[in-house]
Amino acid sequence: MNHDDYSSEYIRGILRSVKTIAMVGASANVVRPSYLVMKYLIDKGYIVIPVNPGLAGQYLLGQKVYALLAEIPVTIDMVDIFRNSEAAVAVTDEALALTVIPKVIWMQLSVRNDQAANKAEAMGVQVVMNRCPKMEYGKLSGEWAWVGGNSGVLSSKRQSLHANGRLQSLGLGASDVIAETTKSV
């Protein structure tokens, strides 16, 4: 499939279906993008399991850190790769070798590896590259406008408040938007 542009329905479908996310390259540094994204996804109700050999055994945002994907004791719906484009091949191989193969391989903003993507897609895994799930969640929920962002999404339907019931937290509503493709930001 074309990995330059994704329809908002494709991204929405992924973010609405996955529940458990393994984040490879999670960081304990509170100003690193991976930490910010992990924190945000947890606030949105996802279970995010950090993977980082250097931090294995420690706890990050209340979650135990694992050295390898294979060590995670629960089924993973999505692997979010916070490594460089080259390293994405090995991480993808590792994911595809799991007993229960994840439904989605997601490579972060600026990370793209078409070889890895082809392998994953050949095994029926959905792939997103060069995107940030926090940003994409923000675009689809409407929170993106709070930073003046152009979400590329139009709708005459009310934005959904997130089920967590907190102030200033929007959720991913039904897919009744008129949408452009989402651009890489």
Partner: protein, 424 residues
């Protein structure tokens, strides 16, 4: 429904879903200074940029957010930041990229207010403008030094109505590894999209055609998301760890919206020129009819300019929408739907004839603004450009014989009748 909404659809719907809390269909005026936190952790996350959300109206406000998202969509940018005026947008834009001793290159044909801001106030910050000629593209390249941080042009120059060859200037900026900033106030995104032609940042005075009704001050900066702020190491506010955010690197963290974020969380936070929620609301309402208005503005302007060009007391008319104008080709390339509604013409009677005309008109309003539904007239050398020397006035297209018109959306025959009696 088409997958890529048209301009008119975006102008109405972009950023403006029904209110999530109340279902209000029109964007409410959030007339509040601050927003309560869920808890201490939420407050901390908002202040540390870990969560999206509103804190304080000096930095953001939900009415303002809709305006920003709409302008960003219309310009084809990644994000926007709305502020108190076009001047404030310029201040925050340069604040994010300039350090004392730095230079930027700007077209000397700019709006007189910008010339003043750059020549005088910016100098006290140690930011030095170097002037180039928008009609001689090579002059931009010649003006670039190792200290140059940006190039600044207007898509259509105010008041001269001249067009700038945006792509040619963008190529010079790209070669030098610096961003091109384009003030698109006179064209609006309906007529011209500078980002499609290589601009990295687009600015507007929203006070003009965007709001369009002469009732609210506002400005905006649009991040095109197409400039690498970390490549050269010359934009440390974006590329280096920021001490006021615990060492966060804004470009690394926010990618293609990093510039708009930096202008908000550093410039707007610390310098404070925020837009009032009511002004955001009024400008939003105006923007819904931007396409309709711009079409009528441009149609009327062609009629008025054509009529003036044949008048015995008129020495010349500078309007790129006239087929014999020297900027007609650039207009056809950059804004084929119209050449805008602001232009100048010269009176054979010079300064005194200009003063007489602005005094004798009865329908046109004599005032220092443009982009209103009403037709407006001004004699720049006695008003907006009076602080400049005569040479500077002539260079800026505002010599003693020059009259500037901003044509409104009244019936064109009434505008022409008023000019006719005023010239008589």
């Amino acid at each position: 429904m088409s997958n890529t909404p048209g301009f008119e659809t975006l102008a109405i719907h972009a950023g403006a879903a029904p209110d999530s809390a109340t279902g209000a269909r029109i964007t409410p005026i959030y007339q509040t200074t601050a927003f309560v936190f869920n808890d201490v952790q939420h407050a901390s996350d908002l202040f540390a940029l870990r969560a999206f959300g509103n804190i304080y109206t000096r930095i953001m406000n939900p009415t303002q957010s809709v305006l920003e998202a709409k302008v960003a969509a219309l310009e084809g940018g990644t994000a926007a930041l709305a502020v108190a005026s076009g001047h404030a947008a310029q201040l925050l834009t340069f604040h994010a990229m300039m350090q004392p001793g730095d230079e930027f290159v700007a077209a000397r044909q700019l709006y007189g207010g910008s010339i003043n801001q750059f020549n005088h106030s910016f100098k006290s910050f140690g930011w030095h403008v170097v002037w180039a000629d928008s009609e001689d593209v090579s002059s931009f390249e010649k003006a670039i030094t190792t200290k140059t941080k940006a190039i600044f042009i207007e898509s259509i120059c105010n008041p001269g109505g001249r067009f700038t060859d945006i792509e040619a200037v963008a190529a010079i900026a790209k070669k030098a590894g610096i961003p091109l900033i384009v003030d698109n106030t006179l064209a609006t995104p309906y007529l011209c999209n500078p980002i499609k032609h290589g601009a990295n940042i687009v600015l507007h005075s929203l006070t003009k055609f965007m709001g369009g009704h002469g009732n609210s001050m506002g400005g905006v900066l649009v991040d095109a998301g197409n400039f690498d702020w970390s490549a050269s190491g010359r934009y440390p506010l974006l590329s280096e760890p920021n001490a006021s955010y615990h060492g966060m690197k804004l470009h690394e963290t926010f990618g293609g919206i990093a510039f708009a974020i930096a202008c908000r969380v550093l410039g707007l936070r610390d310098l404070g020129p925020s837009i009032a929620p009511l002004n955001s609301f009024l400008i939003l309402t105006g923007m819904e009819t931007l396409a309709l208005r711009m079409r009528k503005h441009c149609d009327n302007t062609v009629e008025v300019a054509t009529w003036l060009s044949k008048h015995s007391k008129v020495a010349w008319v500078n309007y790129a929408g006239l087929a014999n104008d020297k900027h007609y080709t650039l207009h056809q390339k950059y804004s084929p739907k119209g050449a805008g509604a602001v232009f100048t013409f010269g009176l054979k009677g010079g300064y005194d004839a200009g003063v007489k005309l602005v005094s004798d008109v009865k329908l046109l309003s004599h005032l220092a603004n443009i982009g209103d539904t009403r037709s407006l007239i001004i004699h720049p050398s006695s008003t907006t450009h009076s602080q400049l020397s005569k040479d500077q006035q002539i260079q800026a297209g505002a010599g003693p014989d020059v009259v500037r018109l901003s044509i409104g959306i009244e019936d064109a025959k009434d505008i022409i009748a008023d000019l006719e009696q005023g010239l008589g």
